[in-house]
């Protein structure tokens, strides 16, 4: 577990480091003819060099949109309003010129997208597409680029890389396509990898392999990684720090041990608690009651309060949106009016995923 974690994040408490990526108050709203959907509603967090930040949340929590906005990759057909700042390498990516963003995409920040089945151009050979990732940022001869491409495919564990290089995506399996996506992501040794649900579309048996590939890739390139997932087990295994998102907000952020041992937000508690237990005497699953809010009509106050066991209908929860505030240890923040009441709650969860995962 901890020993297999990528690139250790041994931080001395109190030590101040410069974040590699700093997202400040990001808001992304989609406007259709009839409504405005607040997909990301004031998100701020930092990513430090060499670490893996896990971003957890249900579908619709805004985790993918946040990271896509970093690279300004929201599809052009949507009418999107973005505000806030995304600081990287000394500039605000949201304000950068098109040429600047293109320079950063693929070279400094790379995206490993969500669904490997639809992410490759079906009419071009795989090798050509890998080569494209290289040629986008370097003036190399085609032959050299091809050679590097084949090496990349081998690095991510594709057997017979040379032969496979000349095949089409439909001749690859899902797991292999995901490996290709990773290969394209690390092709230019970026300093930040964004892995969006890298294992969600894959079989359980393949998932572990893919995570190994990612781990190796990250280690070899010494990159930071933002790992987006709704799979808590994955996060527990891979991440150094965790940000929990709900309805377009970050509701809790802490290092991974703290998040699982002493969560300070009812939603996080609910998430952990809803995991199936392999130990203990639980007979039933404990889901969080209710469903995520309609992002076109976000309720006032805390976005989670309609489903919150802690709220108990208190006025503060209904009326004012809680800020992300420090609770407990210095780097532990939670957006709950009554986070203090959850102190020691982690103990109540007998045998959390923290011990159970492999």
């Amino acid at each position: 577990m901890r020993s297999t974690r990528a690139f250790g994040s041994s931080r001395v408490p109190g030590e101040h480091r410069e974040p590699l990526l700093s997202i400040k108050d990001l808001r992304v709203t989609f406007r259709t003819r009839t409504e405005s959907v607040r997909a990301v509603d004031g998100v701020s967090f930092d990513v430090y060099p060499g670490e893996t930040l896990g971003v957890v949340g249900e579908s619709g929590s805004g985790k993918s949109v946040t990271m896509l906005s970093v690279l300004r990759l929201i599809p052009p057909s949507s009418r999107v309003e973005t505000s806030g700042q995304v600081l990287f390498g000394g500039q605000d990516l949201l304000q950068a010129s098109k040429r600047e963003i293109r320079r950063i995409r693929g070279q400094h920040i790379a995206l490993i997208p969500q669904d490997p089945m639809t992410c490759l151009d079906p009419v071009l050979k795989v090798g050509r597409q890998v080569r494209e990732a290289i040629e986008a940022h370097e003036n190399v001869a085609a032959g050299d680029a091809d050679r590097r491409g084949v090496e990349l495919l081998a690095t991510v564990g594709i057997p017979e890389a040379g032969r496979r290089y000349a095949q089409f995506p439909h001749e690859y399996s899902g797991g292999m396509r995901q490996r290709v996506m990773i290969a394209m992501g690390i092709a230019n040794a970026p300093s930040l990898l964004i892995a969006d649900e890298p294992t969600t579309a894959l079989d359980v048996t393949i998932q572990a392999q893919i995570m190994d590939v990612l781990r190796t890739a990250q280690r070899e390139t010494r990159a930071s990684m933002v790992l987006i997932s709704h799979d808590l087990g994955l996060i527990a295994e891979m991440a150094d720090r965790v940000a929990v998102m709900y309805a377009g907000h970050v509701v809790e952020a802490a290092d991974v041990d703290t998040i699982f041992s002493s969560p300070r937000h009812p939603y996080t508690l609910g998430l952990i608690g809803s995991l199936p237990q392999t130990t203990g005497n639980e007979k039933w699953l404990r889901p969080i009651p209710g469903s995520p809010p309609d992002l076109a009509n976000v309720p006032a106050g805390c976005p989670f309060h309609p489903r919150c066991f802690l709220s108990r209908g208190r006025a503060a929860c209904r009326d004012s949106r809680p800020e992300l505030r420090a609770v407990g240890a210095a780097e532990h923040r939670s957006a709950c009016h009554f986070a203090g009441e959850l102190e020691g709650a982690g103990v109540l969860l007998d045998g959390g995923p923290h011990e159970g995962t492999t």
Binding site: P75, D121, V123
Partner: protein, 309 residues
């Protein structure tokens, strides 16, 4: 037999069946001619002997199945009968003029395809802006435009007023310009509408986002999208050819272009039914061949398509 050959054979067999159907329709129609078909074909000045001759040579004295069979046999032997008016073989009459029609049709299709795709891509990449609105207005206008009116307007402008281009006939490249434009405008409008909607669809796809994420220029992403959009666009271009053939008849008339379209009109006016039959048969055959060619092109454009299953 390899998969591909057997596919080809199957398509050709289906084509033959359709052509047989076309011949049947034609034969039935000639039989349905009000009055005495042989007399009509021979012409009003014909003597009774000539009328009889026509009747015999066309098999009009025999029952329909026999007439039909004779025609099919003739076709299989490469003959389409004799023109009543010109007294030469239908095949040679058509043969002289077919190249002109093909040239015109090909040029018209190319014109429509090239400009249609260009306009469609531009409209899709500038969606919502003035170019897009202009493009869709032109698109609707293009499919509403009567071919012959456009041709005439072009003649009035470029031949009569400006005297830049010849009025008609088929000598030299200059005389090809206006007919091509006239014929191609409708096709261009249809293709551009189709291109725009397909491109809008593909530009949103995940793999285009992946391409952008690699940090390439936008036009590279557009190229990826276009390559994928090509299949439905190709379908439309292929379908347009059929419409084009119809438009060719009118265009050739307007510009006195010596193709089989003009010949068709003349032969209808002359009641020269063998010739009419022959031309219709050739048109149908061209259309069917084109369908097959279009399908074959699919497998080139899209590696996932394997026509033989």
């Amino acid at each position: 037999m390899s998969g591909f050959s057997s596919y080809l054979v199957r398509r050709l067999a289906a084509a033959v069946i359709t052509l047989l159907g076309v011949i049947l329709v034609m034969v039935l129609l000639v039989r349905a001619l009000p009055g005495d078909a042989a007399r009509v074909i021979a012409g009003l000045q014909a003597t009774p002997e000539q009328v009889e001759q026509v009747r015999l040579s066309l098999g009009l004295d025999r029952p329909v199945p026999v007439q039909y069979w004779r025609y099919v046999v003739n076709v299989a032997h490469g003959s389409l009968g004799t023109s009543a008016r010109f007294e030469t073989s239908v095949l040679s009459e058509i043969g002289h003029r077919l190249p002109y029609t093909i040239v015109l049709a090909v040029c018209g299709t190319l014109f429509g395809a090239v400009f249609g795709i260009a306009l469609g891509v531009l409209a899709a990449t500038h969606k919502g802006r003035w170019f897009d609105a202009l493009g869709s207005m032109l698109g609707v206008a293009g499919i509403s435009m009567p071919v012959y009116w456009l041709g005439i307007l072009l003649i009035v402008l470029f031949s009569v007023q400006l005297r830049w281009l010849p009025i008609g006939g088929a000598d030299g490249l200059a005389s090809l310009v206006m007919p091509t434009i006239t014929l191609g405008v409708f096709s261009m409008a249809v293709v551009s509408r189709m291109t725009r909607s397909t491109m809008l669809d593909t530009l949103d796809q995940d793999y285009v986002r992946t391409v952008r994420a690699k940090g390439v220029a936008e036009w590279v992403a557009v190229r990826h999208a276009l390559r994928n959009a090509f299949i439905p666009i190709l379908t439309v271009i292929g379908l347009q050819f059929g419409t084009l053939l119809g438009g060719a008849v009118l265009t050739e008339t307007v510009f006195s272009w010596p193709g089989i379209g003009q010949l068709l009109v003349q032969s209808i006016n002359n009641r020269d039914f063998p010739l009419v039959q022959g031309i219709v048969f050739v048109f149908a055959a061209m259309f069917i061949v084109l369908n097959i060619v279009t399908d074959l092109l699919y497998s080139v454009v899209d590696p996932r398509v394997r026509l033989y299953r």
